[in-house]
Amino acid sequence: MNKAFYLEPNKYFISITVFASFLVALPILSIFMNLYTSGQGLFNFFDLSTIKIYLKTTFFLLLGVGFLVLLLGVSTAWFVTMTNFPFVKFFEWSLLLPLAFPSYIVAFTYTDLLDYSGPIQTFLRSYFEWSSYNDYYFPNLRSLGGAIIMMSLVLYPYVYLLARTAFLEQSVNTLEISKNLGKSPMQSFFDVSLPFARPAIVLGLSLALMESLNDFGTVEFFAVPTLTQGIYDLWIGSGDYASGTRLASIMFIFVFILYFMERAGRAKIEIYQTVSSRLSKLPKYTLEGWKKNIVFILCLIPLFFGFLIPFIFLLYLSFTYFDYGYTSNFISAMFNTFYLSFLSAIIICIVGVMVVYSKRVIRLNKIVRFLINISSMGYAIPGAVLAVGIIIPINFFENSFDNLMQKVLGLNTGLFVSGTIFILIFGYLVRFLIIPSGQIESSLKKIPPTVDMFSRSVGYSSFTVMKKFHFPLIKGALITSFLLVFVDCVKELPITLLLRPFNFETLSTNVYLFASDEMYGHASLGALTIVLIGIIPVIIMTKLISKSRSKYEHS
């Protein structure tokens, strides 16, 4: 049933929604504008060859991460879903655990672990009685390759999660037919399962690549010159806003490719899901002998390196350097993080509900629809670019307001918005709005619009309809998205770093600043806290998966 009806709209509700979606769309639009209005000359400090290096590095970073997350994500997902081997139940959920690590934390943990002065090399030197760096070869983690491995270790769960869901949802009929035709497990993987799961895999891949494009901490530690790092260098390092903005515009090429890849994946998934309606328990292959051991080891590798090693080492560091970590600085950063993330999550969820509702109950005109669509793009845009996009219109507004006030009242208002906590929350809003709006929209889809129409025809007001009939259905989505947004705000680094008020420290900036000074001990407690909070979404996703699983297995 389409949305070919509209209800008496509440004027206040519409104006607030329009205003909110305008605000959220503004930074994205302002970067679009900059694509065309790049004014005087080329880049101030950077010549074309530097830009080429940024582009090349970013390209190879995405290529490398893409390859590794596909390899790790798809293979583990298929083994866990389609085969039986020791501890398969344990792997089902634990393979998601690396998601708890922001890539910058896993990067600095490994840096400390594998550095010249770190425990591994110290042990090797004392064991083999090498005396200096020249006596042996040890791979350098601080390289493009290192960055690719670090990011892949914590980003493969995106592919794992979506591929696994797709494998679970594939029709038993097609699998049985493929067995009936005499295909081996390997053949049915390539001929049946993989094509069916391809849209989901593409979706997971694009999400993972968006994250690696967004990453700032890892590339900064490893001095890998990606576009994100370039923006930060220009912006903070040399205060060259114009070049930073232009670099951000260039980055949009990557953003667009990933964004459309993701959209295409989602669109296909919807088609595929309607095709396979009959779902029942999947026929699993039981592995014997050496095969089961190999699969066990293959699944253990990403878990071991993506979670267990960094987690245990982080625990060890936190206990050893507890006195360096647990300071008044840490406590205030922790407090800041909590109230900032809490406040942001509440605001973002409220705006999310409003956007979803206006789309549902009001026939919106094209401009508002366009704004809402643009405003849902924020998650695809790297934090560093987004920060640039926020500062441009805000500064423009502040300057105009300042000029006006000086003319009219003789007052100097200056920059009264930028550098406040509100700008930071606004940045989070633009980036994370899709989380609540996506979650709520999909749970509201369970109620066709005709239910609303029926309720209105009985005589319920639209507010009563929302309170009595919609709220019970979106409550779960609301809680889930609140938690997810909260955790993402805690983990978020580039936006926080670029938009925070002067001297305002959160856990993530604290960890980043200590780590970039190579004070890993100091950083460890904060990092451990972030990782522990980061486990929350892993638990949520595990629950969601097992729910959908039980749904299929009972039917």
Binding site: T450, V451, R456, S457, G459
Partner: protein, 357 residues
């Protein structure tokens, strides 16, 4: 007394499609069916009556009150017109009985009158055993029955139904249609049902409104819509049948390739004109000794009857509906007779040209 009156109502559906000149009324206790091909504006009319779509011209009166004009528009929650949709549209988080109770704006569990109606409807619709189940635990037919009860418990003066039976299988819909009709009669509720299924329309409607391209083509009782279609479009759309060519040779004679019909009325002004004569399958009768011979080219078994495609000598092909015991084989030659009680003929191929005979 008219419960509902639409006068020259015009609705703009989209840039390219308008529903126009909609004028009809519904009497107390009357059941109306709106039929037409998909996309003809049926649902739009229903929604404008319920208040979900604004009209741009004309007026709608309900219970003697003006509820819609181009400028004035009573919101749906103040109209209290019952509505049932194609999909059951139940609240997924409420049980069957809670869904039914949600049909009353203020349900009071101590209200004897309310409960009497609820349980009367539940037992008429045979849902007694399902009351504590959730919508996803019951069948599609049971969901739709719940939705019907939910819209009837408040005893609205008018019930609007948008293809309520379309997702149900044939046997079920006939039964449900019957049940519904007796309930509506018992509570004296008027109703408008939108459907694209003529069987539903014939079984349910006291009156049928045929709609095409946003306009009312015919508004009459089922018998007349079938036997006296006012345009070629209605003749085509309602029931099956085919046209044979004919010529009006004198003021009371119509000559076709098969036989010559005697006209009851005088059609002096039409003498000499070519017309297309509508032959319904039930106009064709088997008669062994008839001079008109036909060859069976196709047959579709329908249980009590068989629909035959009959090829006449001059490559003309017509449909004939015979009782099932007249079982012929394909290729067999039989004798037929035409018994056309209501002669229907059109002058041109234009859909909207009015019937001449």
């Amino acid at each position: 007394m008219n419960i509902l009156e639409l006068k020259d109502v015009k609705i703009v559906n989209s840039l390219f499609f308008k529903t126009e000149d909609i004028t009809f009324s519904v009497k107390k206790g009357e059941s109306i069916c709106i039929v037409g091909p998909s996309g003809c504006g049926k649902t739009t009319i229903l929604r404008s009556i319920a208040g979900f779509v604004n009209i741009v011209d004309g007026e709608i009166n309900y219970n003697g009150d003006l509820i819609s004009t181009s400028t004035f528009h009573v919101p749906p929650e103040n109209r209290r017109i019952g509505m049932v949709f194609q999909e059951p549209s139940l609240f997924p988080h409420l049980t069957i009985i809670q869904n039914i109770q949600a049909g009353l704006l203020k349900y009071d569990k101590n209200d004897i009158e309310q409960n009497k109606i609820i349980y009367d409807l539940i037992s008429r619709m045979n849902l007694n055993n399902l009351l504590t189940k959730y919508p996803h635990e019951v069948s599609g037919g049971e969901q739709q029955r719940t939705a019907l009860i939910r819209s009837i418990v408040s005893k609205p003066n008018l019930l609007l139904m948008d293809e309520p039976f379309s997702s149900l299988d044939f046997e079920l819909r006939e039964k449900l249609c019957d049940e519904l009709k007796s309930i509506l009669a018992f509570y004296n509720i008027s109703s408008i049902m939108v459907t694209h299924d003529q069987n539903d329309a014939f079984a349910f409607g006291d009156r049928i409104i045929v709609l095409n391209k946003g306009r009312i083509i015919q508004n009459d009782n089922p018998y007349n819509v079938y036997h006296k279609p006012n345009t070629r479009f209605v003749a085509d759309f309602i029931g099956s049948g085919c046209f044979i060519k004919g010529n009006i040779v004198s003021q009371d004679q119509l000559k076709t390739e098969i036989l010559t019909f005697k006209l009851e009325n005088q059609f002096t002004n039409l003498i000499g004109s070519n017309v297309d004569v509508l032959i319904r399958p039930d106009d064709v009768i088997h008669e062994r000794k008839s001079k008109i011979k036909a060859v069976i080219s196709k047959k579709v078994f329908k249980g009590a009857e068989i629909m035959y495609s009959l090829k006449l000598a001059n490559t003309l092909e017509i449909l004939g509906l015979f009782p099932s015991h007249l079982n012929f084989d394909i290729g067999e030659q039989i004798g037929i007779k035409l018994e056309v009680d209501h002669l229907v003929a059109f002058r041109s191929l234009d859909d909207y040209d009015e019937r001449v005979i």
